[in-house]
Amino acid sequence: MSRPRYFEDVEVGDELPALKLTLSGAQVRAYAETANMPGGRFYGDEEARAEGLPGQIAPGNMSMALFSRLLSGWSERGRLLRLNATFRGLVRPNVPLTFHAVVIEKHASDHGNFVECDLVLENADGERLVTGTATLQLPSRG
């Protein structure tokens, strides 16, 4: 395991390494099945079109899970306390996606050391498909 991310090493404005990936239709379906998500819209194009959508879409939960993966990979031993997301556009398979996170605030209290992050998921056209925020508790060197 690499070194954990300590609170003291984080500065407001820090950009986390972006998570770039392209989901396949099979990956989206596998996530939906594992996550017990009903709705043919997550299973394939034909099922999604029957629901009035242009084709298969990824569940909002999957976008949030991928944000948690980005945060988890960066923080190593950080603890995710809050995760908020607004789903603004359809997240489709076979489309390049980039998950961004930037530290917008950090504060310490008797309860621990916390950082707030802004989150954005965008496609290759720069369209913001998901926006959100997250709160992480980080370990301290002290």
Partner: protein, 147 residues
């Protein structure tokens, strides 16, 4: 679609589901389904040296808990035709293998917004997830949008 409802339904529990004990296999299957890479969620040896001292589920594992009813009967006309507009989630006690989780769902809020494309109705479903010790595991506010 006009959305008529009795505001007395706000805050009333419409679903209460107790799930089978969580298994390590379920936890790992969920984590790998979206490509989790942090070894504290994937490897027992790494987890032992991690912040929890044992293997725990990734936080969003709570998303896979599905109660028996998605909506109260009084909102049955809405059905499942809406779109997921977003979620606000607070995570609490980590989920461990063997945990028996309970999900309790209420309608937290109903409101409408009017924009350029017309009126949109929002229903906020709040699901409280607790473990067998009564500790809060997650509070999930899901905003469903209907036109």
């Amino acid at each position: 679609m006009a959305l008529t409802f009795d505001r007395s339904i706000l805050g009333q529990e419409f679903d209460h589901t107790v799930f089978e004990p969580v298994t390590k296999e379920d936890m790992l299957a969920y984590a790998t389904a979206y490509g989790e890479t942090n070894p504290i969620y994937l490897d027992e040896a790494a987890a032992r040296s991690g912040p929890y001292g044992t293997l725990v589920a990734v936080p969003t594992f709570a998303f896979r808990l599905r109660g028996h009813h998605f909506m109260p009967k009084s909102l049955a006309q809405v059905g499942r035709a809406g779109l997921d507009a977003g979620k606000d989630v607070e995570f609490g006690e980590p989920i461990r293998p063997g945990d028996v989780l309970t999900a309790s769902s209420t309608i937290h809020d109903i409101y409408e917004k009017t924009g350029r494309t017309g009126t949109m109705h929002f229903i906020v479903i709040r699901t409280l997830v607790t473990n067998q010790n009564g500790m809060r595991v997650a509070v999930i506010d899901q905003r469903m949008m209907f036109r």
